[in-house]
Amino acid sequence: MPALNKLGLLISFSVMATAVTSLDALAQQPTADVVHWLTSGAESEAITILAKEFEKRGGKWVDSAAPGGPTDAQALIMNRIAGGNPPGVAFISVGHSAVELGKEGLLQDIKAEAEKNGADVTSDVMLKLVSDTDGALYALPIAIESSNLAWLSKTVYDEAGLTFPKSWAEFLEQAKVLKEKGYIPLAVGAQGWQLSILFNSVLLAEAGNDTFDAIVNTKTAEAAGSAKVVQAFTTMRALSTYSDAGASNRAWNDTLNLVAEGKAAVQIMGSWAGAELTKMGLERGDKWDCILPPGNTRLILDGAGFEFPKVTNADDVAGQALFVQVMMDPAVQAKFAAVKGAVPARLDADTSGLAPCDQMSAQIIRDSGSFPSPSSVLGNESGGQIEDLLSRFWADASLSPEEAAKQYSDIVSGGQ
């Protein structure tokens, strides 16, 4: 009987031992629990590229998609951090809010990892957005989106016998002609964020590169309230009379459809519009074209990237390191950007696989330079206030350009 007991003990010990070793084997796998909102069509394909590569290099990918978009993802991240179960990796729009979270001590400073993986050849406009003043780096960009591009209908310009204008003043001249011929001169979806995109490209043209630089890089109140900014608002007011009656709260892709159908001459929208036009089965150069907006010589950028909430578990920490390696691999970035319709954040990555408009963007970023978008610099709150201001200005003619410029300057200098 005792012998049997001993045998039993031996068996149970060995079972336990195997259990422990297999647990150990599991425990040594780098794990990335990734919160993201890339769930539709091409975007979902893009995140799959990362997931596959991550698994190929021995990692374990846990997918925590928030299909509701950035707002849902943000809420999910905050809830999981508050609940003590932070995700290791979170997809973000590259911007000031990562620094805000970092300052609260919720994000991993990944400067060291980034420097090992090509931070020096990554767009410094993007890196600066997520760097704290003390040098900490709280997120990494993977792809760059240009927000100031003009998507024009070649059909409309050909039929009207016009060429795309060089300045907004010339645009307004042409708009009269286009309107008389029954076209919508400027396709606009009057939602805060869309107006913000339009305004930035007007501002860049009217204020010039130096003043725009002062606004986004030093947040100078004088620059933001200067006569040039008043001029930008004046142009904006004039433009508001050249849209159509259905603009209010119109989704950006419905607005783009006006251009695709040859009803409207042009829409100012980000690089994602190119992917949408291609999805409609229209190739560039056929009925539409992409070009820098009137008077713009540089691009205004928004970025897509990842932040890394602080985690304690060894697997998750290892997972973060492996994730940085994967996402900063130039080949991965090239594939990711090509599928998502953007430009790789690493400037040395191959751009030959990108869509024609994105190749154009990549070249402008390399040759002429770029700015971060004001909303990414100012953070969600001030960015939101600017959206409020612009949508009110667009709808309410009693708000004068001077008053609007003053409010704009207050928001810009008060922002952070």
Partner: protein
């Protein structure tokens, strides 16, 4: 004793999940929290800021404009429909189903449908112009001064059926003797409704008003789907203001201050309701 004991978990859940969360929101509204809750007392700073924001004033005023018109119109249409049904007309069941149908749709669907209908370039205006009336204009949806009334139109379409159903049930419960007495005295039907039947149904009407007021205060989807708060922020409502600031603008303190003011508004409404009830009992 056991029964009471069994209730403890649900009471606790209610106390913590409901009142705890409310209390937490009120507390946060007095702090300087932005992206994360930070317990750093800031006095009334968030409220002061809230009151300097034009958008909050617009949103708060809209709640009353939208609320008053929504409740009044839903009641009027609902009561008229109920009275019409009460005339024992033919096809009553079919009509009841038709009028009750909108309430089965969510506010999101209602909002989207009415956005398409009222959009000047694709909807009603375009259709009537297509019929040959070139000068016809109905562009309230894109007019900052009038867009809020389009919310009322959509809201009333959505809610009038509910009021109708409740009022119709109320009318059905009126004793036939009262009608007979009215006929004996030769009182016209309209006077009967106005002076006798509807006053008898006051409790039912109050229930309708309470249900509709709840709709008003929590109304969020309708605005988001229909106008997105625009043109400008002319159709903003407090609930949308709170959600925008809480999630997209990561300003928990300001959002909590706005939410607290919404809570205060609800409490005032409840007190008013309680007072009305008491008045009725006292008489």
């Amino acid at each position: 004793m056991m029964a009471r004991f069994a209730l403890v978990p649900s009471i606790l859940l209610c106390a913590i999940g409901f009142y705890g969360a409310m209390l937490w929101t009120v507390v946060i509204s007095f702090t300087s929290s932005t992206i994360t809750p930070r317990y750093e007392f800031a006095g009334l700073a968030q409220y002061v800021r809230l009151f300097t924001m034009d958008r909050w004033h617009v949103a708060y005023t809209n709640m009353f404009v939208f609320g008053a018109l929504y409740i009044a119109c839903s009641l009027i249409f609902g009561v008229l429909l109920a009275i019409a049904l009460d005339q024992s007309i033919r096809g009553r069941n079919l009509l009841q189903t038709i009028f009750l149908y909108p309430i089965a749709l969510s506010f999101i669907v209602t909002g989207l449908a009415w956005q398409w209908l009222l959009n000047p370039t694709t909807g009603l205006q375009n259709y009537v112009r297509g019929l040959g009336f070139e000068s016809f204009a109905f562009d309230w949806l894109s007019s900052p001064d009038r867009a809020v009334y389009t919310l009322v139109i959509a809201g009333v379409w959505h809610a009038a059926g509910l009021v109708m159903a409740i009022m119709y049930a109320g009318l059905g419960s009126v004793d036939g003797e009262i009608w007979r007495a009215g006929r004996v005295d030769g009182i016209p039907r309209t006077t009967m409704y106005r002076r006798i039947i509807l006053p008898m149904l006051k409790p039912v009407i109050i229930v309708c008003v309470v249900l509709l007021s709840m709709d008003v205060i929590k109304s969020y989807e309708l605005v988001v789907a229909m106008t997105g708060g625009g043109p400008g922020y002319s159709t903003d409502l407090p609930a949308k203001f709170v959600v925008d600031n809480l999630f997209t603008r990561t300003n928990i303190g300001l959002a909590s201050a706005a939410a607290t003011l919404m809570l205060a508004s609800i409490i005032v409404l409840l007190l008013l309701f309680g007072w009305l009830q008491k008045e009725r009992v006292a008489r």
